[in-house]
């Protein structure tokens, strides 16, 4: 089986990606895991290059390796996960099984996997549905046949970069996801900034007071719920007060 150079490079990159990913999920040294994650990002960038999409390869390096891996390493160090003893995940095996099943289903529904399902041939259920027709699942032919109409004026040479860029801001194409991404990123940033901001000492005191007040109010509510409601004062008979006062006045 003669392999072309492209296939050789593909196999090498695939080995690197899967090997690095396996290392990431099985090692105890969190820092090495982060570095292996960086290596797998590099290999994915190599895949993009194989697909003739240099823009996405470079974007992968810029965003994933330049920003996100730094964020991951920082968050690992922030929570000091490298010093603590990392207990082995006792559910690792069963979660791997579940993930493998989901992955197979995804390959079936969205990817190149294909199978034929013939309910009538199954042992028990087949007798319930004896005349079910065999169905083919998987290998959905995604529609590449039609060129996407870009509407790009001919002033710019039509490279895939220009088409991609135009599709992001064209009102008929992907401008809505584009702006939604901006909003989403905005919200994420605002949330993180709000949670992680440095509280000034007075703010820290205020927060602690607020939390203490909330706790006190909760305790109060619980206490009130446990005790019976206080007995209302017995209703005085009508003339008792008048009789008492007149009696007092007479004395």
């Amino acid at each position: 089986m003669a392999l072309t150079l492209q296939q050789v490079i593909f196999l090498a990159l695939a080995v690197v990606v899967i090997g690095a990913a396996l290392f990431v999920v099985t090692t105890r040294n969190l820092f090495r895991a982060a570095l292996m994650l960086v290596l797998s990002f590099f290999a994915v960038a190599g895949f993009y290059v194989l697909l003739d999409a240099g823009l996405f390869a470079v974007a992968q390096i810029l965003i994933y390796i330049g920003a996100i891996s730094i964020l991951i390493i920082f968050s690992v160090m922030l929570t000091r996960g490298m010093q603590a003893m990392i207990p082995r995940n006792s559910q690792a095996f069963w979660s791997a099984v579940v993930v493998a099943i989901i992955f197979a289903m995804l390959l079936l529904l969205l990817g190149p996997l294909r199978t034929t399902v013939n309910v009538a041939a199954w042992p028990i259920i087949g007798s319930i549905f004896p005349n079910a027709t065999p169905r083919e699942l998987g290998a959905v032919p995604w529609a590449y046949a039609v060129e996407p109409a870009t509407g790009l004026p001919a002033v710019v040479p039509e490279t895939y970069i220009a088409t991609f860029g135009f599709s992001l801001v064209d009102i008929n194409q992907y401008v809505l996801p584009f702006l939604l991404v901006a909003l989403l990123v905005d919200i994420a940033l605002s949330g993180a900034v709000h949670i992680a901001r440095q509280r000034r000492p007075i703010e820290v005191i205020q927060e602690r007071q607020d939390i203490a007040a909330e706790d006190a109010a909760e305790a109060e509510a619980i206490r009130n719920a446990q005790q019976p409601a206080p007995v209302p004062a017995p209703a005085l008979p009508e003339g008792a007060v008048a009789a008492a006062t007149s009696a007092a006045n007479e004395h």
Binding site: V38, G54, L55, V58, A59, L62, G66, F74, V155, I161
Partner: protein, 418 residues
């Protein structure tokens, strides 16, 4: 003039011809060997220029500081880089005891490799480029960003508190100054209509009917901010607070010695020279120029930019870390964004080609008029930004002085009463 102008092309063609005839049985192998040879030549060029640059830097900074600089090794100290190289080679390679072996050894290699990889896309002459990526400038920025992880590797692998702390702070600085660099390359890409470096140079020359206007005249603000961000990105003076000897004791590479430290050093200078080359390509027109051969023009322009780097190093004091971050996030980034919006609007209103006017509308002006409008807008934004920052700084300074004066008066009053 033609042999001199196309000297690099002629030599390259000659060597490629020899290789092709030797390996004529397999064109793929001939291609691979040619590319490998080109890579080796680029690395050698980078290494040689590194040696020359360290010498030039020490001499220039010395003259600015009213002293002579290295003059012992060889005539005029010209063999100083070779002496330094020998020293680096023969220095003992001490490794801290509990360091993570792989990470510690790999970090300087990664930094040096990434720094050298940026040279693959720089055009040295009209046909002489390592590989003409149509995403050239994007690639350069991404490689600069990708080398940041190696700094954390170096800091962590040294198993040293101060190295780790220095690594974090260095990464915060480098990561911060990526943003103005990215945002200020955008106007250039918008005007040139492509991210490839050769296309950008073409738009600044008289080729293909373009008016030969360097982009410096279009976007002075972008040029200035890109230059300063480039200096900060390579952690040179005045932004070298993290490797200064009097500060955190050489920062993240405190535990490295000998060849590995030399690789860090090489990475820094090669990065600085790459920034100089990229700036010359983006804003000054690269290898374009009237009389001299193109590669001489590129070297002259990059040399001029690097002289500015050395000049700033010798003249300016070191900035504090909070000053540096304030400058980046509170001045450069908002200014770059506002400038970008302005450039977008103006480039759409004033167009230069009739085809474009027919397609998307706008006012048709001459190329020089468009350049002048852009220049005025950009310069006004820069001056307005500086004025705003100066006014805010003055207000806060006066408020501080106010507080201090009041406190002083109180102290005098209490001292007088006591």
């Amino acid at each position: 003039m033609n042999p001199i102008n196309d000297l690099l092309n002629i030599i390259g063609g000659f060597i490629a011809g020899i290789i092709n005839s030797i390996f004529s049985f397999s064109p793929f192998l001939a291609d691979a060997i040619t590319m490998g040879l080109a890579a080796i030549i680029l690395c050698t060029f980078a290494a040689l220029s590194f040696m020359g640059l360290t010498y030039a830097e020490r001499k220039v900074v010395a003259r600015i500081q009213d002293r002579v600089g290295p003059n012992q090794a060889g005539p005029l100290g010209l063999l100083q880089p070779i002496a330094d190289g020998i020293k680096m080679f023969t220095k003992e390679d001490t490794t801290p005891a509990a360091a993570d072996r792989w990470v510690y050894n790999l970090a300087p290699l990664v930094i040096a490799v990434f720094a050298l990889t940026t040279y693959a896309v720089l055009p040295f002459a009209p046909g002489v480029v390592g590989t003409n990526l149509n995403i050239g400038v994007f690639y350069v920025l991404a490689i600069g960003s990708g080398s940041i992880v190696a700094i954390i590797m170096a800091g962590w692998g040294s198993n040293n508190k101060y190295a780790l702390l220095g690594a974090f702070r260095t990464v915060a600085q480098l990561v911060g100054y990526e943003v103005p660099m990215l945002l200020n390359v955008l106007p250039v890409v918008m005007l040139a209509g492509s991210m490839g470096l050769i296309d950008i140079i073409d738009h600044q020359t008289l080729a293909n009917g373009n008016a030969g206007i360097p982009f410096l005249l279009f976007f002075p603000l972008s040029a200035v901010v890109f230059l300063i961000s480039g200096i900060a990105e390579t952690a040179r003076s005045p932004f070298d607070l993290l490797e200064a000897e009097s500060e955190i004791v050489a920062g993240f590479h405190v535990e490295y010695s000998g060849m590995k430290f030399a690789l860090f050093f090489l990475g820094e200078y090669v990065n600085a020279l790459a920034v100089a080359f990229v700036f010359s390509t983006l804003f000054l027109g690269g290898f374009a120029g009237p009389i001299l051969p193109p590669y001489i023009w590129l070297l002259l322009k990059a040399g001029a930019v690097f002289t500015i780097f050395m000049w700033l190093r010798g003249t300016l004091p070191r900035v504090r870390i909070d000053q540096m971050h304030n400058l980046n996030w509170k001045f450069f980034v908002p200014l770059s964004i506002v400038h970008l919006i302005l450039v977008i609007i103006l480039l759409k209103v004033f167009v230069t080609s009739p085809a474009q006017q027919a397609a998307t509308g706008g006012i048709l002006v001459d190329a020089w008029v468009q350049a002048a409008i852009m220049f005025v807008a950009s310069a006004l934004t820069l001056i307005a930004g500086l004025g705003l920052a100066a006014r805010r700084a003055r207000i806060s300074r006066l408020a501080e002085e106010d507080v201090l004066a009041r406190r002083r008066a109180e102290n005098m009053a209490t001292a007088g009463a006591a």
